[in-house]
């Protein structure tokens, strides 16, 4: 499939797109504010994947490489299209309170669709830090480098994301 894509064969490109669509769209959907934005991110990400396929080293996982490219494409998209993509530094590290039983119970009760929509409601930078830390499992130092922010700011955004998400989940659950 990769060889076919390198040879610019449409069938191979279509097969690759179809095979990894769900996993890669999942990434874009978490970083985007809505479905249309996620679709745009995905398209730009796939263009980058096809254009840089020759740079892929077969020693590593192809899926992990594609996910990395897609994550970077999602962040680039936000930088390009979101004027309010914050670059303000927050040095004060607020303390995050551990989740209570009620909050954990609320998470188990809401659907994955609802949860994804709640993540989309977070502010762009906060959402990006939360996604990078929780889903992509980057450290604060790596996130700070990727987003051109201080490590403390990354901590702040993560705590902010957790607090806001908890509120939204409880509200959703009570409704």
């Amino acid at each position: 499939m990769i060889a076919g894509c390198l040879a610019n064969k449409r069938e191979a490109q279509h097969r690759l797109f179809k095979t990894f669509y769900s996993k890669l769209f999942h990434i874009c959907y978490r970083y985007a504010s809505n479905n249309e934005e996620a679709q745009d991110m995905l398209n730009e990400g796939f263009i980058k994947i096809f254009n840089n396929l020759d740079r892929y080293q077969p020693t590593g996982s192809f899926e992990a490489w594609m996910k990395r490219v897609m994550t970077n494409a999602a962040l680039d998209y936000q930088r390009k299209h979101k004027p309010n993509f914050e670059t303000v530094d927050y040095d004060a590290i607020s303390q995050f309170e551990s989740s209570s039983y009620e909050e954990n119970h609320a998470i188990s009760k809401i659907s994955s669709d609802e949860l994804m929509l709640l993540i989309q409601k977070l502010p762009p930078m906060t959402r990006s830090v939360f996604n990078l830390y929780v889903f992509e499992e980057y450290s604060h130092a790596e996130i700070a480098e990727m987003l051109h922010i201080k490590e403390g700011t990354s901590h702040w955004h993560l705590n902010s994301a957790r607090t806001k998400l908890k509120q939204l989940i409880i509200e959703q659950y009570r409704d």
Binding site: E11, S22, L42, L115
Partner: protein
């Protein structure tokens, strides 16, 4: 990672997105790719031609069927007043023998009336299903010798010389 983060991650990763061809179409349009390869174009043309051909043939057959149905004439309506009444015919025969003649009266013959036109089956298939009977072609029965009406009548031959008279 917090327990909260772990719960969020597990829950969110359950969400699946189904692929639709439209997404590939939109991507290919944006990337400036041809949406279909040569082989796919061939397949599309072949499939669409067979669909169009099949539809045309089906329409042609349907029109033929409808036409054939409309050509079946309705059974002729017979006015009861036009029907010939079943008549009793009194046949008489006169036998002449020499100068005398004897009139023989035959038994009244009931003339058989036949239907003026055979019943027409409009839709033979429907009829078959409904009645669950087989419609067979009529078989021409072998000809039986036609009996004349006088055959069974014994003629009485009277000789006038044998008649006893009072003389």
């Amino acid at each position: 990672m917090e327990e909260f983060d772990q719960l969020i991650k597990e829950k969110a990763e359950k969400k699946e997105f189904k692929f639709k061809f439209l997404y590939w179409f939109l991507f290919a349009k944006k990337a400036g790719f041809a949406v279909f390869s040569t082989m796919q174009w061939i397949a599309i043309v072949a499939i669409s031609s067979s669909i169009v051909g099949g539809a045309s043939y089906g329409t042609y057959k349907l029109v033929q069927h409808v036409r054939a149905k409309s050509n079946v004439t309705a059974p002729a309506q017979v006015n009861p007043s036009e029907l010939e009444p079943l008549g009793l015919l009194l046949d008489t025969a006169q036998v002449e023998s020499g100068s005398d003649s004897v009139i023989i009266e035959g038994s009244p013959v009931l003339r058989e009336e036949k239907a003026s036109c055979p019943p027409i089956i409009k839709n033979p298939k429907k009829k078959e299903k409904k009645d669950q009977t087989e419609v067979k072609d009529s078989v021409i029965a072998p000809k039986t010798p036609v009996k004349t009406r006088y055959e069974e009548i014994r003629f009485l031959a009277i000789d006038p010389d044998t008649i006893l008279t009072n003389d």
